[in-house]
Chain length 408, copies 2
């Protein structure tokens, strides 16, 4: 009954196919993040031209603006934004908990919640609070108060017409002590079960339509083998269509964070059922993609490619100087590109590299021209989406190790 | 020897073909303005898909950033920005004179130059100054001092590889008194002649290449029949490839300004040679397009369609409520569009109207999403470019009066 099928493996790395209500997804896959009903600066045609198979929508943002009820009325998120492919939505919990305090996903900073009373971290009033019921938070748009429960998160995601919904969980951080971690994980289990119950009821109400929306469970935790193993066992015991791995991951490719990612994935993947797709939440660095795929991960999402593009940081492959230490990027503002007629990456076949020079992109970037943001985002999305696609092809051809050597 | 040919007329309205080094332009034509080497938010493919035949580039902006010498080194503006169609460049004089004081083209505000010593208008230090030599100005980017002479303007435009260059002139305003107007026009004549001399030398130096760059003269003036008639006679006596009409035009469609435009065009057009294309500088309101084409104008440029798009103001045709009093626009932010599944203008076949609803555009606009600016600009550029195209077809079919009645 699984919607997922492994079609090839090389070591623990695997190539698969995930069926959704909006078509099949070839895995491993990178999912660009479309926070507010658009992957910033791109339209659906751009996304398709970049090879995008599936995008991620943010429940928190769409709930607040324009609202899940409006999107439902407009025929769902696919129709509203004109994207016909699959959509995965997050639970909204991470943003609800973090946006007030503006923490980054994972390890870098930590928020101002009542659960985190380290005075040195507290700045300004508390804006979010976790209770058994859910996450109380204040809108970053207008200061209005909201309560995100597991049931509410499911209701929003079903209103959006998501193909893959995520259960509500609490994101843990390295700053949480063992006692809090234990309590939090137990609460997350209860939230995941409540999410699933509401989801099944909601989907049943909507009737049978072939493949409907699917629900992924979340494997939470901190950088602790015992905790991660226990959580892997727990989530495997539930009846989810896939498993998203969250918690203390680094979003930057410094080696401490990278090692923590590799280690965590190595601990948990052998305990997960082969038949379910595995999603690493918020992972998207080139190095991490190779490391996680090698350890059996199938799905990725990350805002980094899009955000970097807007900040002038564009991907380059190893033949053009891309390496771990420069995060496989160049800075388009550099003076050396002033009169450079070559594309960002001569090996890249994206629309931007096929049509525009570094000199032109540098000019647009320095002039803050709107066109820059689209052309840069096209390049970065194409680059990462197609890197993951080439990894998939390598796995099928048993060339993964070879490809990895060329890159990392 | 003229590059321009009239192919049909209806009354004074005419349809023509203008040959340039980068292809033919069917007139009447609207030229979107690409200030900094891009029509804001659009790339060349978007422009082509909007039906754009020719764009306008701004000499002042490109001279300051990225610099005409760099663009020349990169193969010219066409190659630098990836636009293969014709480009008309202005002289840079208007921006050099106005940007420090941020005046609008024409009649609304007036700058802080030493030639304009009305104390009530002076705010802050003087940043531009007109002498016999040219326009002294201070860069709006870095405060550096520059001198734009007729020769310098020509050099820049030839470096850019412009298909149609404009002579340097001084823009007059209704606030200039008759004595200043007389002196200014005499100086502008000298500047136009100096421009032409440098242009011919520069083009000759570059050698014969079939149709090369062309030079348009400028018919300056204020709202005064005697002045305009005298200027029409002067410019007709020169050897220009086309005539751009500048001076005191309103950029907004209020009726006083509109009447001044109509009147001015009516005064001068009968005195201009039939064989030369006539360009109305900075005109682009729907009403004005009809009024000017009816009176014999062939070419238009205006920033309004692009700027309006970015400000949430989108064009609608008369069947959808567009009229002179609303400037043929709707405001996409209006609450009534919150759940409106229809396109901005159901009669429009632009990419935006074919794919996206008012509800979605409103959401993107309110969320300040980058995608909004592109989709909105596509609509407004397509709308105006194709309105002018449909006027051309109407002239050929002797249906101009009929079309005008439907619109104005």
């Amino acid at each position: 009954m699984s919607n997922f099928k492994v079609v090839a493996t090389e070591g623990k790395a695997r190539a698969g196919v995930l069926k959704t209500a909006h078509g099949e997804v070839q895995t491993p896959v990178f999912m660009p993040v479309g926070t507010q009903g658009t992957v910033k600066a791109l339209d659906p045609e751009d996304l398709r031209n970049c090879g995008t198979q599936i995008i991620l929508g943010n429940t928190y943002h769409l709930y607040l603006r324009p609202g899940n009820k409006l999107i439902k009325k407009m025929g769902g998120l696919h129709q509203f934004m004109g994207w016909e492919g699959p959509i995965l939505t997050d639970s909204g919990g991470f943003q609800a908990f973090s946006l007030g305090a503006m923490i980054e996903h994972g390890v870098k900073k930590i928020g101002r919640s009542e659960n985190n009373r380290d005075e040195s971290l507290a700045r300004g009033p508390l804006v979010s609070k976790i209770t058994e019921e859910g996450v109380q938070f204040v809108s970053h748009l207008d200061g209005s108060k909201h309560l995100l429960t597991p049931e509410k998160s499911m209701e929003i995601q079903l209103d959006l017409g998501s193909d893959i919904c995520l259960v509500l969980d609490e994101l843990l951080s390295p700053l949480h002590g063992p006692e809090y971690v234990k309590q939090s994980l137990e609460r997350t289990h209860r939230w995941e079960i409540r999410s699933e119950e509401y989801f099944r009821k909601g989907v049943r109400t909507e009737g049978e339509r072939g493949i409907g929306p699917q629900l992924f469970g979340i494997l939470q935790g901190v950088f602790d083998k015992e905790v991660r193993v226990q959580e892997a066992r727990w989530v495997t015991g539930q009846d989810f269509a896939g498993i998203s791995i969250g918690g203390s991951f680094g979003t930057e490719a410094d080696w401490a964070a990278a090692k923590a990612i590799d280690q965590t994935i190595s601990w948990v993947v052998p305990l997960l059922p082969v038949s379910l797709p595995r999603h690493a939440l918020g992972i998207g660095e080139v190095r991490d993609l190779f490391a996680c795929i090698e350890r059996g991960i199938d799905m990725f999402d990350c805002v980094a490619p899009m955000r970097r593009a807007r900040n002038g940081s564009l991907y380059i492959g190893p033949k053009n100087g891309g390496k771990v230490s420069n995060k496989y990027t160049l800075s388009i503002s550099r003076a050396e590109f002033t009169a450079d007629p070559r594309p960002v990456d001569p090996g890249c076949s994206c629309y931007t590299c096929q049509n525009f020079s570094k000199a032109y992109l540098r000019h647009l970037y320095l002039a803050k021209e709107l066109l820059y943001y689209r052309l840069a985002t096209i390049h970065n999305v194409f680059f990462i989406v197609n890197l993951v696609k080439s990894i998939r092809e390598a796995i099928i051809d048993h060339q993964f190790e070879l490809l990895k050597k060329k890159w990392v």
